[in-house]
């Protein structure tokens, strides 16, 4: 459908006055729409704080509760993150738990009164569902060993849920087959931090926005994906006319509206652009040599590292020391002309960007998320962005941050800090390190040798193992793998094979519950007590505010009860006198069943891992009594700028700057990596001539499970459409609204074309968001990943399109 063009001029000339009347539907609020809203009517509500359920920005919300229901929400004025405002999704929070089709009973696939993989999902009791799960898990342990029992969790787990899952899996089941959807979202960021600084998560905080002079977005449409952080950029641009914003992207998008320049580059060529900027910095004498000599070393890793497309793919890095001169020689290949050939970015634009990074008086913040992380060279790309900040000394200094944004509300707090990955343990520890395992075994009070010393399956390999029959039991919680995974046709079929037992815990029916053998109804968000950790290292807590419907139970309750059935109840037994239930507080189901304050007990145990280890979290109540604190929290003080003397208590006196995560490796210096441009595994060709890029839209969270059940969000963006460049539309003879088929070597979807929508990809590219259950775009995507981080590239594969008549 062609959009009607309405210009301001038309409006002035033709805009006839309309007398407006307000139509009121039942239950909607009567108001005079022409006045600012009379807020007095909100006075009858009880207001409680909770972080927003959605993105990694981590806004604070105030929820107005009456008779056990959330009636309204406001941005929390006391939260420094969002300062009294929220985005569209945040304002929809009162409705995310109240879709009419909430799951309220455990369901098991039954036929003739017994579990049957080909049966129908049938309501049952928790006792029956958990008993069946334990039976199947024990059978799998016997048949194929601990690695065949797997859990797939989430960056939307509360911190104690992630911690309980980790403990249950690694200390109870003795299985490292634990992964999270954050592997698809943040693994390259983690690998980038670990390889460059030896320690995960950003050095700066949101305080830096107001001190920055230039913002550079690298493949991150922040205006839609991190709206409140984009509003912080906007605030800086509006108050300081000299501040600048550059939007480097493969798709023309809303973030460009506030930018000085939208810089389009071809998919995968960001590697060349970053190296090209580094080359110019060196050639133009903009490198801060004193900084580099003192705080940086150079290293070169393996090249031609593959794409992980084959089952059982293995990669091991072999890093060699390099010198500044070798580095200079390495980047010298990336001349502006060469970069232009690879990326399409004009030499003068590249020079402008180099001048921004190279200006010694300008504070620069770079931002990235999925464009850089969901990349078959994602770890490299993270390294290359750190290179720019390290060469110029623009790091760990007010307003100077290479800022890796996070997607999920607790990808940092739960997945990264707790370490809910196959290879990890809390506070940046790994299962392959005997000291790290010993520390965990001691804290957990389990015998030495309990934690297996080898990682098993990262997320993609876990699904491949399920297909092959190496994983027999898979429990997914707070995730929707059968909509979210790439190359879904293979994995869906794998899950449906005989002998595979799939459990899905969720609040709503999804594409994953449709495949599951057992569906467990989950209590969500403020139906339980929780903790998240956002993108600026802020840990924030909330209390249980409303009851969950029916028999829904929190994941924490589910994990503890499953542990009991498996004989690992001891792992979650704490002395009730040490963790008494406070009077007058509504407790979570998990605490109620335990008869003690389980969240507090888990927290106090968990934080031992980080104390004195660069990850200090403070005692439980401090978080309930504040709007969150940024770790390391030492002597009650949060840390805003890490690695800088005087700001970060871990930096030794006289060091000025100490990247102490690398103390052992490099004596506390950061690493500039020599990382080349390498092509994507699948590029457009004669048969499949277009790039496909997938992603999100502002209104919808991930697979849309919550947001598509809220009227305002559904109506704002009901369906996924295929955004096309007008020239491509012309080439294929397509008009907006026409149905097309997008096909790759792996599968196809039908979808409507959209031209001139919210985003416009460059020529030769199509963009499809993945929130729509009716458009399973992941049937089309490719399961290639970054060999270092194992994170999938959802942004690039080759497709063809055709009109469907």
């Amino acid at each position: 459908m062609e959009k009607q063009k309405i210009t301001r001029r038309d409006f002035i000339l033709e805009g006839a006055m309309t007398v407006a009347t307000v139509q009121l539907a039942g239950g909607l609020i009567s108001l005079n729409p022409f006045e600012a809203f009379a807020e007095e009517s909100l006075g009858a509500l009880t207001w409680n704080k909770a972080p927003c359920r959605f993105c990694g920005t981590g806004c604070g919300a105030l929820l107005g509760i009456q008779n056990g229901k959330i009636m309204a929400v406001k941005g929390d004025p006391l939260s420094p993150v969002n300062q009294g405002t929220l985005c569209e999704k945040g304002y929809a929070l009162p409705f995310i738990q109240t879709g009419a089709d909430r799951l309220t009973k455990p369901l098991v696939r039954m036929k003739n009164g017994r579990y049957d993989k080909r049966g129908e999902l049938t309501e049952t009791t928790w006792g029956f569902a958990l008993g069946l799960m334990a039976e199947k898990a024990k059978a799998a342990l016997q048949e194929k060993g601990p690695s065949s029992v797997a859990m797939f969790g989430s960056g939307q787990w509360t911190i104690w849920e992630g911690y309980a899952a980790l403990k249950l899996w690694k200390a109870g089941l003795r299985s490292n087959s634990l992964e999270v959807n954050a592997r698809h979202c943040m693994a390259s960021a983690v690998a980038g931090f670990m390889t460059t600084f030896g320690m995960d998560e950003p050095m700066g905080s949101y305080e830096d926005f107001k001190h920055a002079d230039a913002f550079v977005l690298w493949g991150a449409n922040m205006a839609e994906m991190h709206p409140i952080l984009f509003s912080k950029i906007t605030a800086r641009l509006m108050e300081n006319r000299a501040a600048r914003l550059f939007n480097l992207t493969t798709i023309s998008n809303r973030s460009s509206d506030m930018a000085e320049e939208e810089i389009l580059f071809k998919p995968q060529s960001d590697l060349a652009v970053a190296n090209g900027i580094a080359r110019l910095l060196i050639e133009d004498g903009k490198v801060d040599r004193a900084f580099v000599d003192k705080f940086v070393v150079f290293k070169r890793g393996k090249e031609n590292i593959g794409y992980g497309l084959e089952d059982g793919f293995k990669f091991e890095e072999a890093a060699k020391a390099a010198s500044f001169d070798e580095y200079r020689a390495f980047v010298s290949a990336y001349t502006p002309e060469h970069v232009e050939k690879l990326s399409g970015v004009k030499p003068e634009t590249l020079k402008k960007l180099a001048a921004v990074y190279g200006d010694p008086s300008a504070n620069v913040m770079s931002f990235w998320t999925m464009g850089v992380n969901q990349h078959t060279r994602g770890t490299w790309m993270n390294n290359l962005l750190y290179n720019l900040h390290l060469l110029t000394g623009k790091i760990s200094k007010k307003g100077n941050v290479p800022f890796s944004l996070t997607g999920q509300p607790s990808a940092c707090g739960t997945c990264r800090e707790v370490g809910t990955f196959t290879h990890r343990l809390p506070a940046d520890r790994v299962v392959t390190n005997p000291e790290h395992r010993a520390t965990a075994e001691k804290i957990w009070g389990v015998p030495a040798g309990t934690i297996p010393d080898k990682p098993t399956y990262h997320a993609v390999e876990m699904m491949r193992a399920l297909d092959r029959g190496d994983v027999l039991f898979l429990w997914s919680t707070v995730a929707n793998p059968f909509q979210d995974y790439p190359n879904l046709n293979r994995f869906r079929e794998g899950a449906l094979k005989d002998g595979r037992f799939i459990v899905v815990s969720d609040a709503y029916p999804t594409r994953s519950t449709a495949i599951a053998d057992v569906v467990l109804p989950s209590a969500m968000w403020v139906e339980k007590e929780g903790a998240f950790g956002n993108a600026e290292r802020r840990t924030h807590f909330w209390k249980k505010l409303v009851d969950a419907p029916g028999d829904s139970k929190s994941d924490l309750w589910q994990f503890v009860e499953f542990a009991k059935k498996m004989g690992f109840g001891k792992l979650f037994a704490y002395p009730a006198e040490e963790y008494p239930i406070p009077t007058g507080q509504t407790m979570s189901d998990a605490s109620e069943t335990a008869g003690l304050y389980l969240e507090r007990a888990l927290w106090e145990e968990y934080r031992i891992f980080g104390l004195g280890h660069g990850h200090d979290l403070t005692e439980f109540d401090a978080y309930h009594n504040s709007r969150g604190l940024r770790w390391p929290v030492v002597n009650g003080k949060e840390t805003l700028i890490r690695y800088r003397e005087g700001e970060d208590p871990y930096v030794e006196k006289g060091r000025e700057l100490q990247f102490y995560g690398n103390d052992k490796k490099t004596g506390g210096k950061a690493i500039v990596w020599l990382r080349p441009y390498e092509p994507a595994p699948e590029e457009p060709d004669a048969q499949y001539p277009l790039w496909l890029c997938t992603g999100r839209v502002l209104e919808h969270w991930h697979s849309g499970t919550m947001t598509r059940r809220v009227e305002s969000l559904y109506k704002a963006y009901p369906h996924a459409t295929a955004n096309l460049h007008p020239k491509d539309a012309e080439r294929y003879g397509l008009r907006g609204g026409e149905k097309i088929r997008i096909a790759s070597r792996r599968g196809s979807v039908e979808i409507r074309a959209e031209i001139g929508g919210r985003v416009t990809p460059q020529e030769g590219m199509v963009y499809v968001p993945w929130f729509d259950e009716d458009v399973m775009i992941n049937d089309v995507t490719l399961d290639a990943f970054c060999p270092i981080s194992k994170q999938v590239d959802f942004k690039k594969c080759a497709v063809r399109i055709e009109k469907v008549s």
Binding site: Q23, I29, F34, A100, A235, Y714
Partner: protein
């Protein structure tokens, strides 16, 4: 305001809704999600321009009003914000058009206490991050009614 006509599409959505309702009530069998409608939809927004529509009801007291008119070609840049030209107090086009007035919350940062009497605060400047045009589609899964 234009009359809403039931198109083939809205009818098919209604049929699906009816089917969902039947399967849901009292059924012990549960498969898939009501969000899987089998409809390959297109996003259609109001075509009427500013001043030609009536405000939409809000979700709750204090909810940001959704946009009842088309915003095609609207521009929100550092130098120009087409939304503000009607919705601010001093907006030249506002008189006679009954545009919903931007409330005081947009001029005072409740966290820092900073005020910006002349123009809405920078953190409130990207109107479309909270306010969005609404399509005529109905969500296939309604909210609980109790």
């Amino acid at each position: 305001m234009k009359e809403i006509t039931l198109t083939k599409r809205t009818l098919s959505v209604l049929t699906i809704l009816a089917l969902c309702a039947c399967a849901g009530a009292g059924s012990r069998v549960f498969r898939g999600s009501g969000l899987t409608t089998g409809t390959i939809g297109v996003n259609a927004y109001p075509e009427a321009g500013p001043g030609e529509t009536t405000p939409l009801p809000r979700m709750y007291a204090g909810a940001p009003p959704m946009i009842p008119h088309a915003v095609t070609d609207f521009s929100i840049t550092r130098d120009q914000n087409d939304c503000l030209s009607c919705h601010t107090d001093g907006g030249e086009l506002a008189p006679g058009h009954n545009a919903t007035k931007i409330p005081a919350s947009h001029y005072r940062n409740e966290h820092t206490g900073e005020t910006s009497p002349e123009r809405v605060l920078g953190i409130r400047y990207n109107c479309l991050q909270c306010h969005a045009p609404q399509s005529t589609d109905t969500p296939p899964v309604p909210q609980k009614t109790d």
